[in-house]
């Protein structure tokens, strides 16, 4: 047994210590397992299934009606993707941190040269990337193909990308929120309960815009309402939800890092 001089030491220091290795591991849970294919198939069905039904199956059944256009599919696609992705993210994210705490693997990881910020950020980045790629980019491309095929010409890609980008930001908000909750609790119940509670409360508040005039404008639900105008290339009525959701997501991540940094293992 001897020290091997051929080995090159890692260079990461401070908050980024261990980040690269943690990211490699976390990415592996998305891309080197069957989970990847299962997620692709499930989200293909959820996000593109109903638009496909509207665009391709209904015309076969109801031959008397005028042919649907790509825009009909777009409306279905965007109205399903946002809420479904949120619910999916809340279910997926509830255990990201809590599971590691329960299993004791968090304590083992933290006995290595890994900063607590790197632990939290690796979870956030890897899961955000996985969700973004499978639920938003891939499904967006399939939807883009469907709409273009239906209309017989290529759709303008940038407006659709902008709309999907807004939905992705919405997803990031809920992912960061769930992750933050995971740093406060040691079991999944409160994480899932609070996250779903918050989601449904802001959905209800969003419906009460006339009664509570100011608050709903900041709600993430209002971000989803911007997606359709964005996809059609129309000017956005407000950017307030974009700013508030982005700022809140960053805040949640910072709180998660602070909280995780204070916990004892």
């Amino acid at each position: 047994m001897s020290h091997d001089s051929a080995l090159l030491m890692v260079r990461e220091r401070g908050w980024s210590s261990g980040l690269r290795n943690m990211l490699r591991k976390e990415n592996g849970t998305w891309w080197r397992t069957k989970k990847c294919w299962v997620q692709i198939l499930v989200w293909l069905l959820i996000a593109n299934g109903i638009p496909a039904f509207i665009l391709w199956i209904i015309p076969l059944i109801d031959t008397g009606s005028p042919l649907p256009s790509g825009a009909d599919g777009l409306e279905a696609f965007l109205s399903i993707l946002g809420p479904a992705a949120t619910i999916g993210v809340l279910i997926l994210a509830q255990s990201i941190i809590v599971r590691e705490k329960q299993l004791g693997t968090a304590a083992w990881i933290l006995s290595n040269p890994v900063s607590r910020a790197a632990f939290v950020l690796s979870k956030l980045i890897a899961h955000a990337a996985g969700i973004l790629a499978i639920i938003f980019v891939l499904q967006g491309l399939v939807a883009y193909g469907q709409f273009s095929l239906r209309d017989g010409e290529l759709w303008p890609i940038l407006p659709l990308a902008a709309a999907i980008g807004l939905q992705a930001l919405h997803m990031l908000f809920w992912l960061a929120f769930s992750l933050m909750l995971g740093t406060f609790f040691r079991s999944r119940g409160p994480v899932l309960g609070i996250a779903f509670g918050a989601y449904f409360v802001q959905e209800i508040l969003g419906q009460l815009e006339g009664l509570v005039p100011v608050v709903p404008a900041y709600m993430p639900t209002k971000l989803l309402a911007l997606c359709m105008p964005a996809a059609l290339g129309r000017p956005l009525p407000t950017v307030l939800p974009i700013v508030s959701v982005a700022v809140s997501a960053v805040l949640f991540v910072l709180i998660a890092i602070w909280r995780f940094g204070r916990q004892e293992y």
Binding site: D4, G104, P113
Partner: protein, 318 residues
């Protein structure tokens, strides 16, 4: 002397419960320190404080000169740690787990990392199970994997929390053998309550009780006892005349008489060891009809010393 671990006044409280009370402890380089204490004495708390897994309530210390509260990442770069109840990613194989841990320290080249992993698996005798998922490992295999993952970065300090707990005698022997092999490369700080193991491999012993350090000394010093040199004899025959002759010697401070398998036993406490070595046996053998079946300088068993210290009343060697 170069101290690997140097802590002063370290304390940890959980609410009103004081898990560790002002601990002072120094561990020299390239030694094996057995950290002893009954359950709940504060051993694991101390280890977690050294690794930055928990924060001290008071006091502080350094490991390799790095502050345990503020520079724990730097400390962990030079440490290998085996937890009391280690938990790993069970879907990983032993090789994958070691590779994962190795990459916290090394960025390449891949072949050198793989070689290090293979070498470490061989060291703990897991090379034939390297590609099996961890979830199927027995307790002994898990413990050996724990040692392997702690060792894969060739740490300057190995911190082992109850490394031989829950192992059968063969497993314990294997773990101790691995520790023996590692001692030439690294300082080992390990907690245990298996006193035989401590006696076998440790250079120094620290005893913790109710969150307080009650003894720290080289193992020989601890085993020599604190009540002066004592010689033990097992005798056959009537020892009364020899008893009188011995008690009249100025260097004999006391004789404790007992029985063992029908024979008389003496524990002779002496004040002058040189005189005892030269005279004691000779004076006993001078008595006709008295046979000496066993004779030797008493060496305390660690268990005896430990019980004396923990149950109170013994001199504390610090």
């Amino acid at each position: 002397m170069e101290w690997v671990i140097d802590i002063q006044g370290l304390s940890k409280s959980y609410g009103r419960v004081k898990a560790l009370k002002s601990l002072d402890l120094r561990v020299p380089r390239n030694t094996i320190l057995g950290f002893l204490g009954p359950n709940g004495a504060g051993k694991t708390t101390t280890i977690k404080l050294l690794l930055g897994l928990i924060r001290p309530s008071g006091g502080g210390g350094t490991v390799f000169g790095h502050d345990i509260a503020r520079q724990s990442i730097e400390i962990r770069r030079r440490v290998g740690y085996l937890a009391q109840q280690p938990r790993y990613y069970e879907h990983m194989t032993a090789r994958e787990l070691l590779r994962f841990r190795a990459r916290f320290f090394y960025r390449g080249p891949q072949a050198a990392i793989e070689s290090r992993v293979a070498e470490t698996l061989e060291l703990v005798g897991l090379d034939d199970k390297a590609d099996r998922p961890i979830r199927g490992f027995s307790g002994g295999e898990l413990q050996r994997l724990g040692l392997a993952q702690a060792q894969v970065n060739y740490p300057d300090l190995l911190i082992l929390d109850e490394p031989a707990a829950n192992l059968d005698p063969m497993g314990r022997r294997d773990v101790l053998e691995v520790m023996e092999r590692l001692r030439q490369h690294t300082t080992i700080f390990y907690s245990t309550h298996i006193l035989d193991d401590v006696q076998r491999v440790s250079d120094t012993v620290a005893i913790l009780d109710h969150g307080e350090l009650v003894a720290q000394a080289p193992i020989e010093k601890l085993l020599a006892g604190s009540d002066g040199p004592v010689y033990t004899l097992v005798l056959q025959g009537d020892p009364s005349a020899a008893y009188s002759r011995l008690t009249s010697q100025p260097w004999v401070t006391g004789i404790q008489v007992g029985q063992k398998n029908g024979y008389v036993t003496w524990q002779v406490s002496v004040s002058d060891e040189e005189a005892a070595r030269a005279e004691l046996l000779r004076r006993v053998l001078a008595e006709r009809g008295l046979n000496v079946l066993e004779y030797g300088r008493k060496k305390h068993e660690l268990e005896e010393v430990f019980m004396q210290i923990v149950e109170g009343g013994a001199d504390v060697t610090r």
